[in-house]
């Protein structure tokens, strides 16, 4: 029991003292997850609109594949990206392995189906009545789509925040693609795994507390968006 109490007091000391290494890891994690989520949102939101607005052969299959990708384990994404960007892979020449850029590629692959599927569900749930009402008020198709986007903004933001939450907490991609290199690719999750195995319980706990706090903040924001929707 003592070592838990000691661990927690050490963790709090590190956080309150704004320990450079703790902050560095936390900042890198936050930056990588934010950038990956931003890229995935830029691709996923328009993609979900395209899927919702056009009827094409294989649309049902595409939605099923996207839904399946929601439960894709991060180590599998890590393995897939590793296959492509390792020295022997087709993109080996780009030297992306063990770099933050490599992690971003993997995290975008993780976040993309989450943002696309959740946005698509939001659109499909409400588009018929929103679009029909806008058209009946004299909107052009473009104006009606803009109204749809405006009306479902909280649902879309919810999708983006959910993806960010998943990305910031993933370990498989960061470990396999990033290689857990100190100061370069060490994220909150990979650092927690490493420090725990090294017996640096207090350090690992301090990172865990930061990760949990980040999750709490994300959920609070998500909740406030959902409350704003009513």
């Amino acid at each position: 029991m003592d070592y838990i109490i000691q661990g927690f007091s050490e963790a709090l000391r590190l956080i309150l003292a704004l320990d450079t290494e703790v902050l560095e890891v936390a900042m890198l994690s936050f930056f990588l997850a934010s950038f990956s989520t931003f890229l995935a949102a830029c691709l996923g939101i328009p993609f979900s609109f395209l899927i919702s607005q056009y009827d094409f052969k294989g649309k049902g299959l595409l939605i099923t594949v996207l839904n399946t990708l929601l439960s894709l384990p991060t180590v599998v994404i890590g393995l897939l990206v590793f296959t492509f960007i390792s020295n022997r892979g087709p993109l080996g020449g780009l030297n992306l392995l063990f770099t933050p850029q490599g992690i971003i590629i993997g995290q975008v692959i993780l976040a993309l189906p989450i943002i696309t599927t959740l946005s698509l569900n939001t659109i499909l749930e409400s588009e018929e009545q929103i679009i029909k009402t806008a058209l009946s008020l004299g909107a052009s198709k473009k104006q009606a789509l803009f109204i749809l986007l405006k009306e479902i903004r909280f649902g879309i933001l919810g999708a983006v925040i959910t993806a960010f939450g998943r990305v910031v907490g993933e370990v498989g991609i960061s470990m396999m693609i990033g290689g857990n290199i100190r100061g370069v690719t060490r994220t909150l999750t990979t650092a927690i795994a490493l420090e725990t195995s090294r017996g640096e319980f207090g350090f690992a706990l301090s990172l865990g507390i930061i990760l949990m706090s980040l999750s709490l903040v994300i959920n609070l924001i998500l909740h406030s968006f959902q409350a704003g929707d009513t």
Partner: protein
Amino acid sequence: MAAAIISGENIVKYYGEEKILDIEEVVIEEGLVLALMGPNGSGKSTLIKILSQLEECKQSKIYFQGELVTAKNRLAVRRKIGFIWQDPLLYNTSVYENIALSLKFRDLSEEKINTKVGEALTRLNINKLANKNAKQLSGGEKQKVSIARTLVAEPELIFIDEPNTSLDIDSINLVEEIIAEEVEKGVSVLVVTHNFYQAKSLADEVLVLKEGRLVDQDRPENLSIKEEGLLKYI
């Protein structure tokens, strides 16, 4: 016989294998109130959506004020038609913005929008709701806002979808008052209703749909003698 505000030819609509509508010709004369009646599933809502260009019906020909509706003039035609839905969707913004939206779609100046929205709020007696979020309104208030945002665009033809459903007696009276006022101004109105007595008191003409076919179109007094038969449809 007055000129037609809207007419349709060869309106045939399928949902999957099922034929929903099969109407050779339907004509709505300018300046009249028409009641569209028929049992549930007879195709009333689909017909008004096709006539108002909210739903596609490829092989049909729709004429608005004598002009064939095509992809080119579809938006302009839609902007001359207003809709009052039985369960209106109001957008997640203020009542003022909800009403102003119809005018913003038409690119009116801020000044004109302000004046017209103010008039609409006064006409429906909902000035005090102007800054309230539309999602927080009661059913009756929602319907008033929905009527205001339709009328603010000054449509030449108004479709009213089952005004009695989910409305209290005051709101029903309000809808009937509005219909009378708009007709006075020369606006044509088509009311979808299940209430034969309301149709008789409001409408100049009654259209009866059954299983997607137009089975009767006549003045209410002429339909009265067939009342027993008609009630069977409805």
